[in-house]
Assembly symmetry: C2
Homo-oligomer: 398 residues x 2
């Protein structure tokens, strides 16, 4: 049987690596000192649970059972300013289920903590490369916002790494995660069984105009990159309105202005545009609108526009058999207090699906907050999620 | 007689301090190593010209003639990415006119290079404090964009500084400067005699919303600070249209987004808004519109808005007697190739006007470019400006 106290104790212990900010905040980005220390701690825990520990070339930490096994897990790296459960919950829940299974001579369960799910370099970088979606040689040229190359960053764990882990040994993958959205919390429900994971596109866009004096350059002669961004953002919202659904999202989350001085007409702005939807076709429609709008706005204003490499992942349907096991377990443990729902967030499960059937389980995020220090979930819901995950594993392996 | 070769040689020599970037670019912000070294070089030059050297408590460098004198000069600090003439031209032209006057037993001419005209800390910081417009104790709390306090930065020159310079000894002030706008260059004219300097307002505005997950937070539940900036920028352009003139300008030149990551709905943005006009009443109207628009936009979007301290300077009329001397000299040296015009740029002369009559002389900026490495002016126009300045000084002191 899973041990809720042991599970919660490990969760709090993992939080100590990079514990920061208000509430239960965590600062543990991929390959930071806190992240590497946390992964070394996980290696000890996996070993103590009787699992064979392996670190793959990109720093994902694996605890392997012998023979064919069901794989559980998530990631233990965090956003630049993250919470204590995003990723960590799925890893520690997996550890507890695998540990309990070992103790009771139960089913073979393996555990993984993928590296850089939060995308310091790419998007779900560790599981993307492991899945074969992007070759390591390509990913090694990814850089973070400070220009650090992935190849350089992953050397930080070179003293730990071994070979790649063969996916053929896994019969399926279940990832437990916080919802990171408002719906379960608003409805007072304990668990969500995921139906599919939305697809994502992420692109850098740069407008270049003419850097000039902010007092002597008449408005009609300016080529102001920030005014270009403002006009683009307004036009894009109008252009997207007719094609999006209530669950479609798009975000300008990163903005870098050059030279970024109040007395200078800005000559250049680079910004991120990320959009998500559960239909690949709509993601494509949106890309066309985004590119056309950027080209149109820049042409009108004497700006040049350049588009960075587009990172992206396709929408993924959850496996029926794994979903049913989660639904049956949810009905058994939290009858009437669970729902099926799509995942608006991207997860490592998207990549793992290239090799084995996958499914996901959500627990509520208080006020729907995540990717922030305030992120949290009640202990009652955390334990409910643990029991549903454990129940699903038993149903699948009996 | 002024010596054009000596004048151009000194200009190029000053450019060596912080020479950078393409063309004749200069990186010499206030209190940087390059700026301090340049000011020490100016001290030697002033002394060699027979002037009494004094550095005031904020780092402005003075070369003083005995008894009552006419003051000429500008500033030798640069923008983060500036040109070789912005400020430097007025200082070296002043040096050459004062030097030539000394040599020929001519009129008493003093010279100044004010500190931080480019506003690393405030706006025309050095001359603002010297003029009494802002007390030193207040200015010491100004910080640059990296959070460095003015009080800390000015310690960099503590080994050089002496007392304040008494303005009572000056009979007037003339500042020669590049136009930093397109008009003289477009018209093929050599010189502009300034009629008045526009007023300026500069304020930081912050929108705060809710930092959240960019995939799981539905658009209708977001409190996105960057979307707030985009909506504000678009609305402001519409609201200002009916009150502005063709020469009114407003600029969002600095933008800082938090946490500035592509997968996070941005919770906070701080940006600069600077606006300029030759009428104080219009500057006030614009401030009301800016504040009302920011409050309205933030209220509609569940954002909070905060306004930073507003820095500003009033529009200033040039002195009639000094203007006439410049116009007569311009007509004598470049007949038919000069005009009278307002200054859209702010200058130290604005502050000096609190103590003595002031006037300004412009030379063309090629393609109107300034506050950029590409800034330049033809040698012919530089020398024409020098001769007109010298001619005006002779007319005023005969």
């Amino acid at each position: 049987m899973v041990n809720p106290e042991r599970f919660l104790t490990d969760l709090h212990e993992l939080r100590q690596f990079g514990a920061s900010g208000i509430g239960k905040g965590v600062v543990r980005p991929a390959f930071s000192d806190a992240d590497v220390a946390a992964r070394e701690w996980l290696m000890e825990r996996f070993e103590a649970a009787g699992l064979r520990v392996q670190v793959d070339p990109v720093g994902s930490v694996w605890g392997l059972a012998d023979g064919p096994s069901l794989l559980l897990g998530s990631h233990s790296d965090s956003q630049p300013e993250g919470g204590w459960l995003d990723g960590a919950l799925g890893v520690i829940a997996a550890l507890e289920v695998a540990r309990a299974a070992k103790e009771s001579g139960g089913p073979a369960v393996s555990v993984v903590s993928f590296q850089d799910e939060e995308g310091r370099f790419g998007i779900t970088t560790g599981s993307t490369i492991w899945s074969g979606a992007v070759p390591l040689e390509t990913a090694d040229n990814y850089t973070d916002r400070d220009g650090v190359r992935f190849e350089t960053a992953r050397r930080r764990m070179s003293h730990l790494v071994g070979d790649w882990v063969d996916p053929a040994q896994f019969t399926g993958f279940i990832e437990m995660h916080i919802e990171q959205g408002p719906w379960l919390d608003k409805a007072g429900e304990a668990v969500g069984v995921v139906t599919d994971i939305v697809g994502i596109r992420d692109m850098r866009i740069t407008f270049e105009g003419e850097q000039n004096h902010a007092g002597t350059t008449p408005m009609h002669l300016r080529k102001d990159a920030v005014q270009g961004l403002i006009a683009f953002g307004t036009a894009l919202n109008e252009m997207l309105a007719p094609v999006v659904t209530p669950s479609t999202v798009w975000t300008i989350g990163h903005v870098a202005v050059h030279p970024n001085a109040s007395s200078i007409v800005p000559g250049k702005v680079t910004f991120s545009l990320q959009w998500r939807d559960s239909e690949a076709a709509r993601l494509g429609q949106m890309e066309t609108i985004i590119r056309d709008t950027a080209v149109g706005i820049s042409a009108n204003r004497g700006l040049s526009v350049t588009f960075g490499e587009m990172l992206g992942l396709e929408p993924v349907k959850m496996d029926g058999r794994l979903r049913d096991a989660l639904s049956d377990a949810a009905e058994a443990y939290v009858s009437g207090k669970w729902r099926t729902m799509p995942s608006g967030a991207l997860h490592d499960a998207t990549n793992v699906a290239r090799h084995v059937p996958v499914a996901m389980l959500f627990v509520p995020s208080i006020n729907g907050v995540s990717h922030a220090f305030e992120e949290d979930t009640s202990e009652e819901d955390l334990v409910a999620g643990l029991n549903v995950l454990d129940g699903a594993v038993r149903r699948l392996t009996n």
